[in-house]
Amino acid sequence: MSAGRYLRFTRNTVQTLLAYRANVLFYIFGNIVQTLVLWYLWRAIFAGAGGGRINGFTLGEMAAYLLAAVATQSAISGSADGIVADEIMDGNIAVNLARPLDYRTRVFFGHFGECLYNAVVVSLPALVIALAAGASVGSTGARLAAFAVSLALSFTLHFFYKFMLGLTAILTTNVWGVFNVEAVVSGFLSGALVPLAFFPDWARGAMALLPFASMVSVPALAFAGKLSGAELARALAVQGFWVIALALFSSWAWNSLVKRVSVNGG
């Protein structure tokens, strides 16, 4: 069993995404606008507060957090949930179950293709333009290394999480509703919209332990240099815990739910 067999799925996904050229341009443009809006918004907020710190963030740290959050979000933007749910609902899962491929591994490589495409094609232009617009981040090697490790953990646990989310299609026909609720909840709890430092104390402790914070907040904070040595170690440990827990749980969910798959028609 070679990874080469599965890598073709990554290549295919990227090829397919690139085939829709109009979409590519809209995504790039949309991402640039969103990133710039967030950057100018924070700059205005800091200027309004007369410079200094807000919830412990300087403007420079906020810029670093913001850009790292944009980069992280695009690097974990694969839609394993959509891939799985679509195949379950339209019955094409049948074709894939009749192939000598491990289903979850195959979905992973397609998901990875989307992440690669979004990170390189969609978010890179936005990051470059935001840097040009004055969002300086001035990073060090140590912060970059911590970011890279944390991002790798985030990427992995996010995949297992999304894969399981997709499997809910076996249980409910209304995945559209489930996905919408999930998008709102995870957007908030992951720190993608607002750093978790801006939430009240009582909520913060619990949020840091949920898998959502491990997805965006931790890598972005690591990049912004907002985690001390001990804090960083603890945050990485929580991420590691979620990688293992979600990997095991998604294996269990797959093995028990695949028996309940029913493919109608044809």
Binding site: G4, R5, R8, N12, Q15, T16, A19, G91, N92, I93, A94, V95, L97, A98, R99, P100, L101, D102, V258, K259, V261, S262, V263, G265, G266
Partner: protein, 352 residues
């Protein structure tokens, strides 16, 4: 009930390619209620509906056989195929395909089989056909040299080069089916499952697809299981058929046997004078006195009588009809396989 071939282990090969024993599948679904209020009701009730799709089905299929697996819509054909291919897990019973239990060792089984679902494609929608084929080549680990050789053969039987570089979404149905067949055969499977391979195809393409299937079987001894609604597929390809109705096996035997048993049946179609008021019942009763298994019915504006030639003579039947109705024309036809299968269904229904 037609001859249900007993599973006489001695008369069959001790190592059949496919062995199905007491296979059953029951689907459990949430009960749904109609209308908007019904959908609200569905939120609070937990009533389960159990549907038996396949019920205690057993058969063996030897290496190199082409078997027609037929049944009406919803009879359980596709469900059986999906259990044999490892897609669905059965509720009861056991299946081995080349010694492998499909749903337990999904990947090992998948390497042995090819599947074509007439109603869905296994090709990648946005990619050219050749790209899909090389992707499958990599998935099944076929070497490049071997791939070229096999593709040349498939191209010869299926004429793939006409559309090899077109994206799958731009293909006609017939082209897509040929491409799908090629895709399922690249790894030279021991067993090929064809789920309605000729659905929606025109006669010429159907002929091409059938020829390709025959050639494959001859060339490589591929075991083929075919489900279809087109009984011409069966007549041309299969020597053995298995008939399933409401999830149960109702016939398993050779096509010739079936013809010999039911082939004595004749159908006479009477074209009646326009405007004639036809009351079938008294005529049907009269004809039943000649042959109790005869069927009399109006079909497409014509009066059709099907009966056993050995029990009632054609002359006697025609006389009875002429005595009651004004007939403009009539035609006698041999029983088509469709008619035979319909009778098996009806007898199975009556037996229940």
């Amino acid at each position: 009930m037609p001859s249900l071939r007993p599973l006489d282990e001695a008369s069959r090969s001790p190592f059949p390619m496919i062995r199905v024993r007491n296979l059953g599948k029951t689907f459990v679904t949430q009960k749904r209620y109609p209308g908007f209020l019904g959908s609200l009701k569905g939120l609070v009730t937990r009533e389960k509906v159990r549907t038996v799709a396949v019920d205690d089905v057993s058969f063996d299929i030897d290496s190199g056989e082409i078997v027609g697996y037929i049944g009406a819509n919803g009879a359980g054909k596709s469900t059986t195929i999906k259990m044999m291919t490892g897609i669905l897990t059965p509720s009861s019973g056991r299946v081995t395909v080349d010694g492998v239990v499909p749903w337990e060792r999904r990947m090992a089984n998948a390497a042995n089989i090819g599947v074509v679902f007439g109603q869905r494609t296994q090709l990648w929608w946005d990619l050219p056909v050749t790209e899909s084929l090389t992707l499958l080549r990599d998935i099944y680990g076929v070497t490049k040299g071997e791939y070229e050789k096999r593709l040349a053969f498939l191209d010869e039987v299926l004429a793939l080069s006409e559309f090899a570089s077109s994206p799958v979404r731009t293909l006609s149905l017939g082209q897509r089916m040929r491409a799908d067949l090629a895709a399922s055969l690249l790894h030279r499977p021991k067993v090929l499952y064809l789920d309605e391979p000729t659905i929606g195809l025109d006669l010429i393409v159907k002929e091409k697809v059938r020829k390709a299937i025959k050639e494959l079987n001859r060339e490589f001894g591929t075991t083929i299981i075919l489900t279809t609604h087109d009984l011409a597929d069966i007549e041309e390809l299969c020597r053995r058929i298995i008939v399933i109705d409401s999830g149960r096996l109702v016939y398993d035997g050779s096509l010739d046997e079936l013809r010999a048993k039911y082939g004595r049946a004749r159908t006479v179609r009477f074209h009646l004078a326009p405007g004639a008021v036809v009351d079938v019942a008294p005529l049907a009763a009269e004809l039943a006195a000649l042959d109790s298994s005869s069927r009399t019915a109006m079909e497409e504006g014509e009066l059709a009588v099907t009966f056993d030639r050995a029990k009632a003579g054609v002359g006697a039947v025609v006389q009875k009809v002429l005595a009651r109705h004004e007939v403009l024309d009539y035609a006698i036809s041999e029983t088509k396989i469709e008619e035979i299968v319909k009778r098996i269904y009806l007898e199975a229904e009556a037996a229940r």
